[in-house]
């Protein structure tokens, strides 16, 4: 694997770890949140999940280009 690709993979791994950790914490917070705050959290969680998907798709695309 090239250095560039290795770097992209490292970045993906870090981001997935970091963003998943936030998703898990946010999910626990949902239990104790009032309605309005729950909606806000869910919207942010959805954004977060989408950003993980985008990163995975971006790495896939760069692999396919090779």
């Amino acid at each position: 694997m090239s250095a560039g690709k290795a770097g992209d993979l490292d970045s993906l791994i870090h981001d997935i770890n970091s963003k998943s950790a936030s998703l898990k914490t946010a999910a626990r917070l949902l239990q104790k949140s009032p309605h309005a705050e729950m909606r806000e959290l869910l919207a942010l969680m959805e954004q977060q999940a989408k950003s993980i998907v985008e990163e995975i798709q971006a790495l896939e695309a760069s692999l396919n280009r090779k």
């Binding site: 970045s11 870090h14 981001d15 770890n17 970091s18 963003k19 950790a21 936030s22 998703l23 898990k24 914490t25 946010a26 626990r28 917070l29 239990q31 104790k32 949140s33 705050e37 806000e40 959290l41 942010l44 969680m45 954004q47 977060q48 990163e55």
Partner: protein, 469 residues
Amino acid sequence: MKNMSVQMNRSLMLCSALMAKLTILVVEDDPLARKIMETHLGGHSVEFAADKASALEKLAARNHDLCFIDLKLGRNDECSGLQLIPVAASKGVYSVVMSGHDSENYIERAYELGCNDFFSKGNEEENIGSILERFLRKRGQVKVDEVFVESFVTEDPSTRATIAEALNYAPSSLPVLLLGPSGTGKTTLAKVIHDHSNRSGEFVAINCAAYSEDLLEAELFGYRKGAFTGASDNRRGRLLQANGGTLFLDEVGSMSLKMQTKLLKAIEEGTFYPLGADKLETSHFRIISATLEDIRSLINSNRMRFDFFQRIHGFTVQLKPLAHRKCDLLPLISFLTRAQKRLAFTPDAKAEILRHDWPGNIRELRKFVDLLLAGDEGCVSVETVSRLLKTIRVEDGTDSFATEAQFRFALSQGLNEAVDRFIDTIIKRAVTQNYGRKAKTLADLKISTRLLYSSLRRIGRHPRQEPVS
């Protein structure tokens, strides 16, 4: 697990509520992570920055107490968060890295650059509370010398060491148990610990020995109008008054087992019903307890529940009587007269002060100082010191029939044992003085033969037993 998680989060929110308001900067590009931090830092003044540039601006613009830093700030960022650490450190800001980049390399680098704490993301619920506690403990590492000059005057090295250690725990919610004879400063120390706890609530004290069981319950839990005869109005109990603060249970050893059970439940659950109420009340407080009794003896004689003891003692401070820290006598006199007429003592007067044992401890010393200040002498003579000490003894009954040591013996071993020991001491002395003549001893002491012989049997079993005097 769910209950534990709820409790933990409650204790975190509680932490925020109980602590003084802190100024915090959170450097985090991820909106969800920012929201999580905002939730867990509720009650504090929190600013956010999403990148290095705005973080530097905010650090320059304001003095923050703490700074939480994510290392990777943006998709293609090369951990620019690291560069913020020395900037925060140079401003004396307590910097905490919370990052998904938690390889040894990054951890080492972050500490090298001067960060105070490093946590991996994902455990904010548990970590933030302990980070804030650690920060407060570090900050509150009190100029200990100030305490020993302004609040709890002592030059005794071991007393200073114990109190300094207790103050390390002041910002935590660890319960503290203060032991020591009457008048050694347990209440003063409890207040000092509360003052250094950063708790926003009050210091609420109650002397458990001053109330009957029913009244103690009413005082602690409060009551509703009509709950019992004499309850002419609603009354907020001490537990509620202490919410967010400190509850000081003085003479905790005198609390009945029934009351210990009720209080234990309230401490553990943080909820209770005032007398006559059907609405559950909530209160979270830190417990400081004090007693002059021997704790082991209280537990062994079933006067204190072991689970109650476990709940009230996290850190124990044993205060010495003044007789064992005579180096404190003259500094204490100086402290007690600092805002009033200053006194000097002749060398003989000082020697007499140091010779006296001060069985009433600081309370007795305070009375002595009051009497001195009411007098005419500026340079106090030995005759004045002797006269005043005698006056205090007569007033207090500290020269009374039972010495402090005998009183403490009775508390630890029981009154029957103390009485037997006293009887044996007197009889042994009388028999010795009468060269073994029992008839003369009976006549001198005006006692029965039965009493004499039961005592002699005891003395025979424990010939080396020391009198308690």
